[in-house]
Amino acid sequence: MIFHPFGKYILLLKAVFRRPEKWSIYRREIFREMDSIGVGSLWIISIISVFLGAVTTVQTAFQLVSDLIPKSVIGGIVRDSSILELSPTISAIVLAGKVGSSVSSQIGTMRVTEQIDALEIMGINSPGYLILPKIIGAVVTIPLLVIISIALSIFGGYLAGTLSGAVTPADFVNGLKSGFVPFTFTVSMVKSVIFAFIITTVSAYQGFYTEGGSLEVGIASTRAVVISCIMILVADYITAQLLL
């Protein structure tokens, strides 16, 4: 049961990575996608990131009841959890909702209104033209969004910690600086790239094989989000297991 869709997904990817008919047209599409995925998601990623950091600080402070542990630990915890898990994974889940559903409904609508057939008739490799720019756009911009998310999350943590008095600014900054393992950042970027690939390809697959009408387009886009989220968490676990 599960092998048939998986095979179809692989075949679709094979078609996506055929040589483009004309690079200049693809390049323009890639910039368009980078704008819509990257710039278009900046706002929502920024807001959630500040709150992610803030919540982490408050909850860590709440759990640190022992006086033996210095408060500066909070800074380190906010930094590591933002980099390793919160920023890449929560951003990916939010983007699966925002970008995934739009990719799937856009391609699904083109399918049911025969626009994909029209591309095919012209002799255009429709999976390549429609999906490749989205994959590249996402794989480039989502890691950048995650970097911004990490910065804002730490900033949110700093803000919440100092405003609530849970930790002094100096302690927080001390914690931030001590014990940083650069490799965690690498892991974070690897995750972001994998998540970006999952979001766009899973959603494009759901849209590309939509059959029927507008009702089915809606169903496909819901399914795109649900499957993307599950795949993101599975991939999250696997990368953590393999890399850490």
């Binding site: 626009q115 029209a118 095919e120 008739i121 012209m122 002799g123």
Partner: protein, 250 residues
């Protein structure tokens, strides 16, 4: 010339096409007619490879399309123009961008030449000056005409047209028929038109294939159709009392 041999298409339990063979000559208006749901669109889509026929062959000037691989098919498709029943315009692009799209993708012409070609095609379908409108701002008939303009922008060798007249007023409808007729003659295109429209059948039908029950029930020209004694065809073409009376006068 396009030749189809023994085309079968089955959707689940529904045996839509039960072995259809025909020849469509270049420079000729080839019409496929038949009742709603008789499989006209399905036959057209089998011919261009949007549906895989379950059996049979489609041969473009001696080249067997059904046996070709992806790259070979792409080459044939660059010679094909098609108007879809639903028009299938790219709704994120303006009229101009729709028509220019295949030119951008496959030609090395400069912007000015491409623009000229777009305007020429728009003029031919009586839509000059509508360049900047989006498909959502067009009426159904205008969409059809933009669809035709897009289909002819690359000067196809083979032109497939699915219901060019549905949703058009009689006058525009005749303009479109004449356009199809003209370009077919002018560039010696192999044109296949699916239609319900009896004006078109009588007006431009040089070679007519009548589908009934998944089979080719009748084949002939518009001159022959008036004198046919095929019952199914008669019932289909001269369905109304008005047309029946007109026929009796012939």
């Amino acid at each position: 010339m396009i030749e189809i041999q023994d085309i079968h298409k089955i959707f689940g339990e529904n045996h839509v096409l039960k072995g259809i063979s025909a020849k469509f000559e270049a420079g000729m208006n080839n019409l496929i007619i038949g009742g709603s749901g008789s499989g006209k669109t399905t036959l057209l889509k089998c011919m261009v490879g949007l549906h895989e026929p379950d059996e049979g062959h489609v041969i473009y000037d001696g080249r067997d399309f059904t046996r070709m691989n992806f790259e070979e098919r792409i080459e044939i498709r660059k010679e094909i123009g098609m108007l879809f029943q639903s028009s299938a315009l790219f709704d994120s692009m303006t009229v101009e961008e729709n028509i220019m799209f295949p030119l951008n993708m496959f030609t090395t012409q400069n912007k000015k030449d491409r623009m000229e070609r777009v305007n020429f095609c728009l003029e031919r379908v009586n839509l000059e000056g509508k360049n900047k409108l989006f498909p959502s701002e067009l009426s159904g008939g205008m969409k059809k005409r933009v669809g035709i303009a897009r289909a002819i922008s690359m000067q196809p060798k083979y032109l497939f047209v699915d219901e060019p007249n549905s949703g058009l007023d009689p006058k525009t409808s005749i303009v479109i028929d004449e356009l199809i007729n003209e370009i077919t003659d002018e560039y010696n295109i192999t044109t296949v038109v699916v239609t319900h429209d009896m004006n078109s059948v009588m007006g431009i039908g040089e070679n007519i294939v009548f589908l009934f029950n998944g089979q080719k029930e009748w084949e002939g020209s518009n001159k022959e159709i008036a004198h046919t004694d095929n019952k199914e065809l008669n019932d289909f073409v001269f369905a109304s009392k008005f047309t029946q009376a007109a026929k009796d006068k012939l």
